[in-house]
């Protein structure tokens, strides 16, 4: 371990003193010996010293044997770097802050990428979990029939297990006031597929999935804690209406699937009457691949199984295909593209910062040319000088990175606040992996910043001290290259940001087809346990009628699904009157709404009439009788016939929840056609939609209240009204509709504002780059310009000449940047709305902005150069 001891010695402060003591002992002994031979004390000492040789050289040589040479050099370089950097505090602070922000932002975004995208899902062998979707020819994904999931599981050979789930609202009736819960209903094998067992108790047995079998619950850790964290809770039963429900297990705190807010899991009965039908669908499918099975093998296997089912059950399975995707992709969802986009742009920004700093270091190296020449003449090697300059860049990068980690800590905390809806956001943390990443990026940054200046700054310097006067150097073309890189990269960034801004703008202008302003949304708690469907309908109708009477309320409606946010409820319908067999299936969005929905959201009725409450339409209270379709539905599926008066059937699945049948089986009569509304997002074109008129899609549906004034101002009046009507019910989730829609696009906005922020920073760096480089070029040419002015050159010519250089370089770089932007904008396609990735107006605008900004930045140093006082400049130095 001699190298280790040497390394330690390098840092030992007492080493020199120790050696000196040892050496002077030797000289003293020698002198004493000489004295004993009869010399005078003085002469003895002199002779001893002469014999010993130069003590400083001796000490150095001895020390060299004790220490690690390269470390010593490095240490000396670092000390020297610190010393020179503190001599130019302005420069140092600028560079360190730039790097701190650059590295900090980069590290923060990387930590998000690492947590969200790179790490496996927090389940054992999480990379083997897949989402299994079924697609029906010509339409998007639909829910899966439980019977089909069982078939898939039995017949496939590449899966350890296939299971399914759906999440539903539930109500806890234990307390004084009912509280709303989220309950996941899971198919058999759910916990085996996830690879997680309850922390206490056990998971579902076959009998739990049997219709008429025991009703059992597994509760989440959070729920268990909110109930008092009693370990004896496992095995306890409680009664809900006629049912006895037993809590059989508690999940570990880390288990948050299918959603963070799920409070409990229940076994879905696979042999319930409604579960046997292959046409009734409500599950989302997931599976666990066997070890070593690839996605392609699983896909091929399951496609084969489904093809078999298709020939066995042509009516229900004929058109169904399956698609297998990694579960992580679903969890991560749309944030993948956003995160990579942010990471890409934040890295480009860091690159711009690096070129900027490289240019600064380059002019610094040029100013130090005399010093470097002196070092050469004293025998310093180019390698040593390069090492010295690189160390300076390294010191800057290290200090910057250290501050950058502080920035990153703050930024990840801010990200968690700003993007709470980002999946796995709680897993983001600065840990060892992230630190390692920072160390590596610091090394890369040091090289990026330091290599060019070190290489160029030491080249062609003659090993002689420079004469008193600074030599005019022509070696600043490389600086213009660096400026060019900055301009190129920032044009690319700005183009991306501008396209996203245009999209946000276009989205805000889009006609949603409904009016979300002055609409308050909330739930009134309700439970499945105590009421019949008729009672639900009557209670909800009474509440909305009463709220309607409140002053300040214009209309009140019920909906199963909130409009304007991504929530798809696709179903396949059929026509009672029959359709051509070859035509596309009637796949449509399904919404259960009360008749006032269209008035409340101001969706126009285009033909026919509005639907009525079943009771008003001459039917039974709890039976759906009438429906409306939107124009898109009519145009797409019923273009060749009169839509009004036809009867829709099918589409039952959302009607069945928890084994409660809401409404009788359709057919429902189409009574009218309404305008197209962008029900699931402003950026999604309206899809064919069926609105069935029913006030109780579930016991606690969304309530929408159109108010004449500020919607939140009505909240208290509504609460009071509900308390008067139903003292035991709570009003919860009271938020204006436009706020909810805004929240749904928060990620979009955050992405856009972050990218805009990066792009503007890049533009700022370009200003600094152009200004700094031109100032430097001008300072080198100061004497030349002065001489020309003295000889009668026009100031305007000088300005013109300097500006021409700048404009030429910036223009060329902007053109290259434009090409890059065109290449990379394709990756933005899915994030853009109402603007193409190659939108000429946007791209031209970006180039104009960059050129203008660069022009203004160059004007100052160019003008200053032209107004130099010739005589003074020539006398300088």
């Amino acid at each position: 371990m001699s190298w280790l001891r040497r390394l330690v010695n390098t840092f030992r402060p007492g080493l020199n003193r120790d050696i000196d003591r040892e050496l002077s002992f030797h000289i003293a002994e020698r002198a004493e010996q000489l004295r004993e031979q009869g010399l005078s004390a003085e002469e003895a000492m002199r002779r001893a010293r002469v014999q010993f040789g130069n003590p400083i050289a001796q000490r150095e040589r001895t020390r060299d044997a004790d220490i690690s040479g390269w470390m010593d050099t490095a240490l000396r370089n670092v000390r020297y770097a610190f010393r020179t950097l503190t001599h130019t505090p302005g420069f140092t602070v600028t560079v360190v802050l730039t790097l701190a922000l650059g590295i900090g932002a980069n590290t923060a975004v990387f930590s998000a990428i690492d947590a969200v995208l790179l790490r496996p899902l927090p389940f054992p062998d999480g990379d083997r979990l897949v989402l299994i979707e079924q697609t029906i020819e010509g339409s998007s994904n639909t829910a899966i029939a439980p019977a089909r999931i069982e078939d898939w599981n039995r017949q496939s050979s590449t899966f350890e297990g296939i299971t399914g789930f759906y999440v539903d609202d539930a109500v806890d009736t234990r307390g004084e006031l009912p509280t709303r819960l989220r309950r996941a209903f899971v198919a058999p094998r759910f916990f085996d597929v996830m690879g997680v067992s309850p922390a206490a108790g056990h998971s579902f047995a076959a009998v739990d999935h049997h219709y008429g079998g025991p009703i059992t619950l597994i509760i989440s850790d959070r729920r268990w804690r909110s109930l008092g964290a009693d370990p004896a809770m496992v095995g306890q039963s409680f009664r809900v209406g006629p049912n006895s429900i037993e809590t059989i297990g508690i999940m570990p705190a880390s288990f948050e699937f299918p959603a963070k807010e799920v409070d409990m899991w229940s076994a879905d009965d696979i042999d319930a009457p409604w579960a046997i039908s292959r046409a009734l669908t409500w599950h989302t499918g997931i599976g666990r691949l066997k070890a070593g099975v690839t996605l392609e093998q699983a896909q091929a296997d399951l496609s084969r199984v489904q093809a078999g089912l298709a020939s066995q059950f042509p009516n229900t399975d004929g058109k169904i295909r399956v698609r297998v995707t990694p579960l992580k992709d679903t969890v991560v969802g749309g944030s993948r593209a956003s995160l990579w986009l942010l990471f890409g742009s934040v890295s480009v920004l860091l690159l711009i910062a690096c070129t900027n700093i490289a240019a600064l270091l380059l002019s610094r190296a040029a100013k130090r040319e005399p010093e470097i020449a002196l070092r050469y003449s004293l025998g310093g090697s180019r390698r040593a000088v390069v090492g010295q300059l690189l160390t300076e860049a390294g010191v800057l990068a290290c200090v910057g990175a250290t501050l950058g980690l502080v920035v990153a800590l703050g930024a990840t905390r801010a990200l968690r606040t700003l993007a709470p809806q980002l999946p796995r956001v709680d897993e983001i943390a600065i840990d060892g992996r992230i630190l390692a990443y920072t160390v590596v990026s610091t090394a890369v940054v040091s090289l990026l910043c330091g290599l060019v200046p070190a290489w160029r700054g030491t080249r062609g310097v003659r090993p002689r001290p420079s004469p008193g006067r600074t030599q005019v150097s022509q070696r600043h073309s490389i600086q213009w290259v660096l400026v060019g890189v900055q301009v190129t990269l920032s044009v690319t960034l700005l183009a991306g940001a501008a396209l996203l801004l245009r999209s946000v703008d276009a989205l805000s202008r889009v006609d949603r087809g409904f009016d979300a302003t002055r609409v308050l949304t909330f739930h009134i708690s309700g439970t499945y346990g105590w009421e019949t469907t008729d009672q639900h309908v009557q209670r909800i109708n009474r509440a909305i009628d009463e709220i309607r009477e409140l002053p300040g309320v214009e209309s009140v409606a019920i909906t199963s699904t909130l409009p304007g946010v991504r929530d798809e409820q696709q179903l396949e319908f059929a026509l009672a009157e029959g359709r051509d067999r070859s035509s596309a299936p009637l796949v449509a969005e399904h919404r259960m709404v009360s008749p006032a929905y269209f008035e409340t959201l101001q969706i126009p009725l285009l033909a026919g009439e509005l639907c009525r409450r079943p009771a008003d339409a001459g039917g039974k209270t709890g039976v759906v009788t009438e429906a409306l379709v939107n124009r898109r539905f009519a145009d797409l599926y019923l273009a060749d016939r009169q839509a009004i008066g036809l009867h829709l059937t099918g589409g039952l699945d959302t009607l069945i929840k928890n084994g409660h049948l809401f409404g009788a089986p359709l057919p429902t009569r189409i009574v009218g056609i309404v305008g197209d509304a962008r029900e699931h997002g402003a950026d999604r074109a309206p899809s064919p939609t069926v609105y069935t008129c029913f006030s109780a899609p579930n016991p606690a549906p969304w309530h929408l209240v159109r108010t004449s004034g500020e919607p939140m101002a009505m909240a208290t009046a509504i609460r009071l009204k509900v308390r008067e009507l139903e003292p035991q019910r709570s009003v919860y989730d009271v938020i204006p509709l436009d706020t909810r829609i805004g929240d749904a696009y928060a990620q979009n906005r955050l992405r856009t504002s972050l990218l805009t922020c990066f792009a503007l920073t890049a533009l700022g760096l370009v200003v600094a780059g152009v200004y700094g480089t031109l100032s430097y070029a001008v300072s080198l040419r100061r004497r030349e310009v002065a001489l020309r002015l003295a000889l009668g050159a026009l100031r305007s010519t000088v300005v013109h000449e300097l500006m021409a250089t700048t404009v030429r370089i910036v223009g060329m770089s902007a053109a290259i940047g434009l090409v890059l932007a065109l290449l990379f904008a394709q990756s933005l396609t899915t994030m853009l709305y109402g603007v193409t990735p190659t939108d000429p107006a946007t791209l031209t605008g970006v180039v104009v902005v960059v050129l203008t900004v660069a022009f203004v930045a160059a004007l100052v140093p160019a003008t200053r150069a032209a107004f130099v006082q010739p005589m003074r400049a020539l006398r300088e130095d």
Partner: protein, 111 residues
Amino acid sequence: MSTSKNDILQGTLTLLVLKTLATSKRMHGYAITTHVQRVSDDLLRVEEGSLYPALHRMEQQGWLKSEWGLTEKNREARFYSLTAQGRKQLALEEVSWARFTEGVGRVLRYV
């Protein structure tokens, strides 16, 4: 490695120091020089400039260990002694020295 004159001297110094320390318990640098001089009847003189770098290098290599102590005259000095590794090294160096002198001798004897 080239066998320049310097290297031979360097190697010799190591051997001399190891051998010197093997015979006594511990010694400071000055004592080593006087010991070599005396034992070799003034034939060999340790060059003082090379001694201390050599001692320190040998210590770093683990052949010697050093400690501060007092001489008989109550002066503070750094004392060196041989480690187990140093003894092994001495054996190796003695063999290679023997082979070296044997080789040189044969060349010189060749007519």
